[in-house]
Point group: C2
Chain length 298, copies 2
Amino acid sequence: MSNTDWPDGFIAVDWGTTNRRAYRLGPDGAVIDTFEDELGVTSVPTGGFPEAVAAITVRLGDYPMLLAGMVGSNRGWKEVPYITCPAGTADLAAQLAWTEWGRTAIVPGLALVDEKTGDVMRGEEVQLVGLVALDPDTANATVCHPGTHTKWARMEGGRVAQFRTAMTGELFALLREHSVLSNLLQRPVEPDTSFLAGVEATYAGAQLTSELFSIRARVLLSLMDEDAAASYASGLLIGADMRSGMAIAGEDEVVVLGRPSLTRLYAAAVAHCGKPCREIDGAGAFVAGMRAIKEAIA
Amino acid sequence: MSNTDWPDGFIAVDWGTTNRRAYRLGPDGAVIDTFEDELGVTSVPTGGFPEAVAAITVRLGDYPMLLAGMVGSNRGWKEVPYITCPAGTADLAAQLAWTEWGRTAIVPGLALVDEKTGDVMRGEEVQLVGLVALDPDTANATVCHPGTHTKWARMEGGRVAQFRTAMTGELFALLREHSVLSNLLQRPVEPDTSFLAGVEATYAGAQLTSELFSIRARVLLSLMDEDAAASYASGLLIGADMRSGMAIAGEDEVVVLGRPSLTRLYAAAVAHCGKPCREIDGAGAFVAGMRAIKEAIA
């Protein structure tokens, strides 16, 4: 039996910038226990990762562990080099960064370099390969993973062939917390007619930074109801974001993968722009991705 | 002699959100004295405007006063209704909001309402009519006023016929102070090749929120020098902003009006995109505008 048979199962951790979610998987791959906390990598003090990792085993038991996300960045436990696209499950498994052979490894992120730009992801790659493991029909598909930094990925042959990031969620948070629009953006965002009007405007090419200012102007001039501002602003950002996605999309459907609170907004936007679309919960895809990577370890 | 002959001259105040600049103009309209401080409208406590105005007369003498900018907003001394475009010097003079007849008045801002959007300005209108007073050739021109909220105005017959705002300066400040790009954006922005590459990308239609994220990715992947990031980001925002401007521009030259530290960036961007362009200092245009408005008081 090799070091990585893990007969008692293992722990999979999605460790992002501001929070982390850990799952204990049994020998058959089913989730036995899970927890989520706000100990994202920016909350871990320098040199504090061994202790932060040990705290996971206190909660879930002493099992081997696969970690993904910003924990593998220069702000995390250990900087793990990116793998260049195209890349899939086998590539991720082959280039795990082991901290203890057979016990603890960090999944590498992906890099995209083409004639136009460069891009990076850390964490979403696990959900992307997990999606293919859950549903082989997505081996060739366009996948949208909404978030602080929304990712649009083109899957080909089950691997991530290309992707583009847009800093949609982060910009919305900046506008809501710190900008002249702040007091107008406090309401919850709903995929309503205001939201879809915003999507339509920027998806059709309206200039985002002017459209954003116009929210304040329209409210001042009573051309827009103050209650509509947050949804409209979110729609503007997502409509712009979709231009990045559609630039790499194929003819087929768009799979919107992630937290249901965000996927429902993106799914509404994608459908409104006339693309077939379905939503998949990212948590399930993450677990499936870690299971697939574990199985692919040589 | 009417109440507004002002034989001893008057004081003109450009009173914005975060700072104010006051000028004492002599009987012939020449600037005799001036000061600038950080007592913008958001620094004046509720009910504190009479005192803040009195402090100006302590500095510059007890003269009649014309105030412009956010001092006329709902965050300022008194909310003055916007005048709808097209509007010029005579309209502004006719709709001054007097607090003491013949002694103190606030210049109204401008509103734009068309089938596409709504927009507002407060303060820039004085510089725009001042520009025409200084140079009658600009009576029909495209004017760019860069700033926290950059304004692009179409002048026709000496009046502001149309305008569009982009929240360029504010977004750059948000990104520099609070975003994932923060540490990359601390260097001064120069109109160099990185800046022009940014302008070119978004002016040609590249999606702003993806291009912004790509700065971080490119630096991580060593595809961009960290020192180039601030200029490139500024170029991206200004290139996007220019799309709003060019949507209302005529065939003629673009006059870039404002603070020289900002006009030089915009002038470089406009020229790079192939439009003839010149820079005018906004302070001189503001004084000329206030002089023209004073002379137009009935």
